[in-house]
Amino acid sequence: MAVPKQKSQPASRQEAQAADVLDASHVRADFPILDRDIHGKKLVYLDNAASTQKPRAVIDAVKHYYERYNSNVHRGVHHLSQEATFAYEGARKRVQALLNAEDDSEIIFTRGTTEAINLVAQTYGRANLGPGDEVLISVMEHHSNIVPWQLVCEQTGATLKAVPIDEHGALVMDELERLLTEKTKIVALGHISNSLGTINPIQKIAAMAHAVSAVLVVDGAQGLPHARVDVRELDADFYAFSGHKVYGPTGIGGLYGRRELLDAMPPWQGGGDMILTVAIDRSTYNDPPFRFEAGTPNIAGAIGLAAALDYVDSLGYERVAAHEAELLAYGTAALEQIEDLRLIGTAPEKAGVLSFVMDGAHPHDVGTILDQEGIAIRTGHHCAQPVMEHFCVPATARASIGIYNTREDIDALVRGLRKVREVFG
């Protein structure tokens, strides 16, 4: 992703290396799975937008929890429960620190982005929407940032509107401005598009939304893996993310929400941990974040998530972003050399996603042929059917870049695509 390089001029080349450049071979050694052969070929993993691989540090953190202090949180007086609670709440503090949230009560653990967005829709949305109100999304959203809003609009009588995108896959900002009115109560947009790679100008959109007193919900599933996210700088009211896309476990993710918004929100799911007192006729509810975390949470997942964020932080977000930007530029240039290949998503501000279609070869066939070469990419509609419709394609093939990818991976992809040409002429 395009993040400004270090501003101060490094004194020497070595310093430049240390400051700016991610040592991919060092990173690769941290990911046990990258040793694997697939169909007799070295694994080339380019499906990071779907899910990332896990470094040893994450695997070990999860394993250590299960082997040494597995226990429920927030309830036992015994030692293991205290350790587990300490680790779980410690994970929340790590997430808070890394997102630069003001308070750790602003971090709610969820199963992932999908659950986080549903949570906002069913609590904040349900409480604040009514007939005549509008929710504004965009055409490039993942289904998980479309369907929850359709549901809550149906329930409340509010109307769902979508900002169009241009031929490069960037938001049409004039249309956004036009669609944003006093009726708009919620603006829900992706930070980075999973199908196109487009990076949206969140900070600017936050100012526009706040000018009409709407809240901004950011789908950060693809944002957090690629850039340092500072929720206060972005001025997002809610920020949803998934652990498995940022080198952490599946089944864990979270929602950042501004405390005064969370305070006013009704609970979503009912159960243990989210209550203060329960009588048969009524209950009183706990404070955020616990009000929104009914039941035993994914303790191991939260611990693994914190380990993952620490891992990425140790590499340096700026270096991660620079590394991915470099590979994106290299990959874009390489794919442009392939005959009859069209890149889908060419916005000026773009993260490491290479979505494409090839004349005469369906993405599904492209995926199968690449798989035989050990290359993992995603093919299909990427849970973004409106995007496919916009570009008039049934599906795309998508290579997406992560921290352990190298130029060799891109070269392997290009060789694989030449094989596709051999088969399909």
Binding site: H362, P363, H364, D365, T368, G380, P394, A395, V423, F424
Partner: protein
Amino acid sequence: MSDLRELYQSVILDHNKHPRNFGALDGATHKADGHNPLCGDKINLQLIVEDGVVTDVAFEGEGCAISTASASVMTETLKGRTLRDVEALFGRFHDLVTGKGGGDLDELGKLAVFAGVSEFPIRVKCATLSWHTLRAALEGAGAPATTE
């Protein structure tokens, strides 16, 4: 590449590039839509059945090479077959692409070129979409066929 060559046989590539019986059919007695949500493949199948015999069949839609070729070869194979033949053929074809044999390859005729699909379990649904759609059309089920 050997499994790949098995999968993408020249007959399949040819039918993908030049699908047979592609288009709409006048006077269709049976029709159905099929959809594979996994990859977005879509097919519309139309048939004319007279006295229990398929006299004409055509399809439209878009999909990967396997699903397009499978639909194309299927339409060629169906013409002149009785409905009972058709059902038996589907069973054999299904066995073939799922690696359960499929019996006498001669009886499968050109359909035998899809044997390589059995090495690619993820692609079985591509090969069978047109057949599921066929069954939906013949059963007159109102709902579109899906591979799910």
